[in-house]
């Protein structure tokens, strides 16, 4: 890509989303779509993030709140089961953690370089409500 000259791309700084025709896009999962290398799905913006959410499936009730609220469509859910986070597109805004209703939360924010397994091993215990 870095060697592409001025005469080698389409005019107008215009980018195509898919190679070829879009086809049945609504009925095709993201990972099965034929995205171009220029599409925002292919491009990683992980380096925009300074804090990251860590997902602990032990407490998740698959309510889909995080999936609904994520502003970057970065919660990966299949068949109504939360399976993880798209770390190429998550900006670390923390909204998923805010809206998570479980106790303890199934999603918590940590510094970008924190070790995921260590944080899950040290996950906070259930909070007891004071009467």
């Amino acid at each position: 890509m870095a060697t592409t000259g001025w005469d080698e791309f389409e005019i107008g700084a215009m980018l195509r989303t898919f190679e070829g025709e879009a086809g049945d896009i609504a009925g095709t999962l993201q990972e099965d779509r034929n995205y171009t290398e220029n599409s925002s799905f292919t491009a990683s913006v992980a380096d925009w993030r300074i804090e990251k959410p860590v997902f602990n499936k032990d407490f998740c009730i698959d309510c889909q709140f995080c999936w609904v609220y994520c502003p970057d469509i970065s919660i990966i859910s299949r068949d109504k089961k939360m399976i993880g986070i798209d770390m190429d597109h998550c900006k670390g805004c923390g909204i998923c953690v805010e809206v998570c209703p479980t106790n303890p939360k199934s999603l918590l924010m940590f510094p970008e370089l924190a070790d995921e397994e260590t944080e899950i091993a040290n996950w906070p215990a259930k909070e007891t409500k004071e009467k």
């Binding site: 001025w6 107008g12 980018l15 898919f18 879009a22």
Partner: protein, 407 residues
């Protein structure tokens, strides 16, 4: 929904604004997104009336500013429509940010600029300050000297801009009031002939092609911006001039009216010449003829295509002339006038020994009279006879007070 055709006489009495509005109707423009400003308002008002009266199948979008007007045009053009608008002066200044978007996105919009002075002091009359302000915006710029040309050049502008090898927006300039509000006989084309010249709009990379989704208006930083701007310039330099010539030739075949990137009048044996734009060309042509009766071999060069600037054609037109005046109708703001600089640049590495002097004239609609031009040609002849410039390189004509001369 079908639209009605309009019966036109072979020659109609139209001013430049109405001629341009009729051209927009005959091209069946899909979207006009516009905000009114003197003296260009009747162009978009005319299109809106044609639409209300069912002479156009399109959309007229009323917006809150000229910035929004061109933004609407950009959206409509990216969506895949034939798009046009019009503005002047302050409106163009507000629109200027979006002009660079349109050209960088390679959207073939046609913009009619009815040339008017820029404030301050506020002024609604004609000069070329607005045309000059956006000269490096990446738009093709045509210049009409009279209502007939305002009509004709709109068709040519669509034809060139929409070509898939060009895909670059185009401006059609006409002088505020002197052309826009002066009614003259205009030779018309009937609706079918006119539409046949521009043809059905052929979309390219349009957002409404759902099978091929595209992102328009992307961001590129130091990694890609330079390549895109290089491509734009390359196409202006190498593709557009030939496409303009081809459109001029096809238009001549259709109508008998011949256009050239550089218009030359009495230039075959000229010793002295005036280079100018807009209605001044017609005044200069009249004076040149009168000078010839007095024994001065005077000629006139009119710039029909201001961008891409016809560098080589100008050099060729002026190579044997002894003394040339570049007439700039815009306050140069601390340098030589734009035409002076362009002409000087085109002749610099050549064998021409031409004596070039620049004149600033006509700001804010100040008349350029025949008397001014008689004096000018006389001054040029004196330069030619002396074999050197007898004046400073930059002078003002038609301004009250002590004589202004610089450089």
């Amino acid at each position: 929904m079908a639209f009605d055709k309009m019966e036109l006489r072979d020659i109609e009495v139209w001013d430049g604004n109405f001629a341009a509005a009729q051209a927009l109707r005959q091209c069946q423009v899909d979207v006009v997104s516009a905000y009114p400003i003197t003296p260009s308002t009747p162009i978009v008002e005319g299109y809106a009336k044609f639409k209300s009266d069912n002479y156009v199948e399109g959309e007229f979008v009323m917006v809150e500013s000229e910035h929004a007007a061109m933004s609407g045009c950009i959206g409509a053009a990216a969506a895949g429509g034939r798009v046009a608008t019009a503005t002047s002066s302050q409106g163009l200044a507000l629109m200027s940010e979006t002009l660079y978007q349109a050209s960088g996105m390679r959207l073939p919009i046609v913009l009619n600029i009815v040339n008017r002075a820029l404030a301050a002091p506020l002024n609604v009359n004609g000069d070329h300050s607005d045309m000059y302000m956006v000269r490096d915006s990446g738009w093709i710029q045509f210049d009409a000297f009279c209502p007939q040309e305002a009509y004709d050049l709109n068709f040519i502008a669509f034809k060139v801009a929409e070509d898939h090898d060009v895909r670059t927006p185009a401006i059609v300039n006409q002088d505020g009031f002197m052309t826009s509000h002066t009614a003259q006989g205009v030779h018309t084309m009937d609706d079918d002939t006119a539409f046949g010249f521009v043809g059905e709009y052929k979309p390219m990379n349009d957002m409404l092609d759902f099978e091929h989704p595209v992102t328009h208006g992307v961001q590129t930083e130091e990694d890609w911006h330079f390549e895109h701007k290089a491509r734009q310039h390359n196409d202006m330099m190498t593709v557009v001039p030939a496409k303009i010539d081809a459109a001029f030739a096809e238009f001549e075949k259709l109508t008998g009216r011949k256009y050239n990137q550089v218009e030359q009048y009495d230039m075959d044996d000229a010793d002295v010449a005036v280079v100018c734009m807009g209605t001044s060309v017609e005044t200069a042509r009249e004076v040149a003829k009168e000078m010839r009766e007095k024994g001065i071999k005077a000629g006139v060069v009119g710039i029909r295509v201001f961008r891409p600037f016809p560098f080589m054609a100008i050099a060729d037109a002026l190579k044997d002339v002894k003394a040339v005046a570049a007439l700039d109708r815009s306050a140069p703001g601390g340098t030589a006038g734009a035409l002076f600089n362009e002409i000087a640049g085109s002749l610099f590495n050549t064998d021409s020994k031409m004596l070039l002097s620049g004149y600033i004239y006509g700001l804010g609609g100040r008349d350029l009279t025949k008397k001014h031009l008689v004096d000018l040609y006389t001054e040029l002849q004196a330069n030619a006879d002396a074999g050197k410039l007898l004046t400073k390189q930059q002078q003002y004509i038609g301004v009250r007070g002590p004589k202004l001369a610089y450089l």
